[in-house]
C-alpha cells in the first residue's frame, strides 16, 4: 500500500512492503466481487441465448462462452479504470474468478432455442 496515496494514483505497489497484514476493507472487497459475479452471470445467460439462436453446436458454443467471458473480463477491467489495485487484492479476482460459474446457466439457455 506504500504507493497508494489515494485511489487515483495508479503507480505499482512495491512488492516487499505488500501488506502481508491485510488492512483491506473486507466489505468493499465483497461488494466488488458481488458486482463481478452479477455481471458474469448475466452475460453468461445472454451468451447462452445468443449461441442458441445462432444455432451453434458442439465446441463452437463453448468457444463462444469463453469469448463472452473474456469480453466480460475486459469490460470489468475497463470499469475498474485500470487502477485494479485499489479495488481488488489480486488480478485473477476479476479475470478468472467465476469463469466457469456461469457455465450451467449458459448451457441451459443454449438448449432453449434448440427445442
Amino acid at each position: 500500500m506504500a504507493g497508494q496515496g489515494n485511489s487515483s494514483s495508479s503507480d505499482k505497489k512495491s512488492k516487499e512492503v505488500m501488506n502481508d497484514v491485510s488492512t483491506f476493507r473486507a466489505e468493499n472487497l465483497q461488494n466488488n466481487m458481488k458486482v463481478v459475479y452479477y455481471s458474469r452471470t448475466f452475460l453468461s445467460i445472454i451468451g447462452g441465448a445468443i449461441s442458441g439462436i445462432l444455432g451453434l453446436t458442439g465446441c463452437m458454443g463453448f468457444i463462444l462462452y469463453f469469448i463472452v467471458m473474456a469480453i466480460t473480463s475486459i469490460g470489468l477491467i475497463a470499469k475498474a479504470k485500470f487502477s485494479l489495485h485499489s479495488y481488488f487484492d489480486c488480478w485473477n479476482r476479476i479475470i478468472l474468478d467465476g469463469f466457469l460459474g456461469g457455465l450451467m446457466s449458459f448451457v441451459l439457455f443454449w438448449t432453449y432455442p434448440f427445442l
Binding site: 500500500m1 497508494q4 496515496g5 489515494n6 488492512t23 483491506f24 476493507r25
Partner: protein
C-alpha cells in the same frame, strides 16, 4: 464512523441548509446515518418540517423516525416542552411501543427526575431483560448523576453479557481516561482494536494513552501505533504525525543516548516532521514558524 467524503458531504449540506438552500430532510437523514450530534440544527430544521403539514405528510412512515430524532435533539437543547409534544404524538401513534417508553425515560432524565426514570427503565426491563439500549441508558443516567464509579460498575456488568458491543467498550475507555485510570483504558482500547482492526482512530487513542503512561516500553509501543495510524490514514492525520515526533524525542530522553531503537525505522520522525511542515505550509502557513521551533526543541 465518519469518512472523509461523508464529512465533506455533511458540511456541504449543512451550509446549503443554513443559507436556506433547502434539502433539510437529506441533511437530517445524513445526521441520523452518521450518528453525529447536531442537536440545535436537527431541532431547528426538524421542527420546520414537522410544523409544515405538507412536508410532514410527504415523509410518510419516515415521519415517526423524525419525531424521535427531534425529541432527542430537543432534550439535548433543554427544550423539554417540544420533546414532550413529540413524545405525545409518538404515543398516540404507537401506544405500547418500548421505543417510546425509552424516550419517556430519557425525558425524565433530561428533567433530572432520576427516581422516576429509574422506575420507567426497570419496568421496561421486566418484559425484555436483554434490551441493550435500556442498560446503556442506566449507565448514562449514573454518569449524568456524577456517580462515575456506579457507571463503571454497571458498564462492566453490561459488558459481561454483551462482550462484543464495541460502543460500550469505547464508553468504558473514555470514562477510564477521564479518571486517568490509563491501565484499564489501554485494555479497553485493545478490545476496540481487536473488534475493528482497520479503524485508525482506535490505534491513535491507544497510542495517546500509552504515551501518557510513559516508560520506555510503552513509548516504543505508542510510536508503533502512531505509525500504524499514519499508514491507515495515508499520512493525513496530523495528530499521528505529531505523536511520532513526540514519541521519538521522549524515547531519546528516556533512553539517554543508548537508543538501539533507531535501527528499525530511522527516518520515520524526520519524514513525519517534513510531512507536518508540508501540511502546515498548505493549510496554516502563518503557524509554520511555531511548528518549526517546536520541532527544533524536540531535536528532530
Amino acid at each position: 464512523m465518519v469518512s472523509k467524503t461523508e464529512e465533506t458531504q455533511l458540511n456541504r449540506l449543512e451550509n446549503q441548509v443554513d443559507n436556506g438552500g433547502g434539502g433539510a430532510w437529506e441533511y437530517l437523514c445524513l445526521v441520523r446515518k452518521l450518528k453525529v450530534r447536531r442537536s440545535e440544527k436537527v431541532l431547528k430544521y426538524g421542527l420546520s418540517i414537522l410544523n409544515d403539514p405538507k412536508k410532514r405528510s410527504a415523509l410518510g412512515p419516515e415521519e415517526w423516525t423524525l419525531y424521535e430524532q427531534v425529541a432527542i435533539a430537543a432534550m439535548d437543547c433543554q427544550c423539554l416542552n417540544v420533546a414532550k409534544d413529540c413524545i405525545k404524538a409518538l404515543l398516540k401513534k404507537f401506544p405500547e411501543s418500548k421505543r417510546v417508553g425509552r424516550l419517556e425515560g430519557m425525558l425524565l432524565e433530561a428533567k433530572g427526575l432520576w427516581a422516576e426514570a429509574e422506575k420507567v427503565y426497570s419496568s421496561l426491563l421486566e418484559d425484555n431483560p436483554l434490551d441493550q439500549v435500556i442498560h446503556k441508558r442506566k449507565v448514562a443516567m449514573a454518569k449524568a448523576q456524577g456517580n462515575i464509579s456506579g457507571a463503571i460498575e454497571s458498564l462492566n456488568k453490561y459488558l459481561e453479557i454483551f462482550m462484543a458491543d464495541h460502543d460500550a467498550w469505547r464508553e468504558l475507555a473514555e470514562i477510564y481516561v477521564s479518571l486517568q485510570m490509563y491501565k484499564q483504558a489501554t485494555f479497553c482500547y485493545e478490545e476496540l482494536i481487536l473488534s475493528q482492526p482497520t479503524v485508525p482512530l482506535y490505534h491513535l487513542a491507544y497510542a495517546d494513552v500509552l504515551y501518557t503512561l510513559g516508560g520506555l516500553e510503552n513509548l516504543q509501543t505508542s510510536k508503533k501505533y502512531y505509525a500504524s495510524t499514519i499508514d491507515l490514514t495515508g499520512g493525513k492525520n496530523t495528530r499521528a504525525l505529531l505523536g511520532v515526533c513526540l514519541c521519538t524525542s521522549a524515547i531519546g530522553q528516556v533512553s539517554k543516548g543508548r537508543n538501539k531503537e533507531d535501527k528499525e525505522s530511522p527516518e520515520l520522525q524526520s519524514l513525519a516532521a517534513k510531512a507536518l511542515e508540508k501540511e502546515y505550509r498548505q493549510k496554516a502557513d502563518d503557524k509554520l514558524g511555531l511548528l518549526t521551533s517546536a520541532l527544533r526543541s524536540l531535536k528532530i
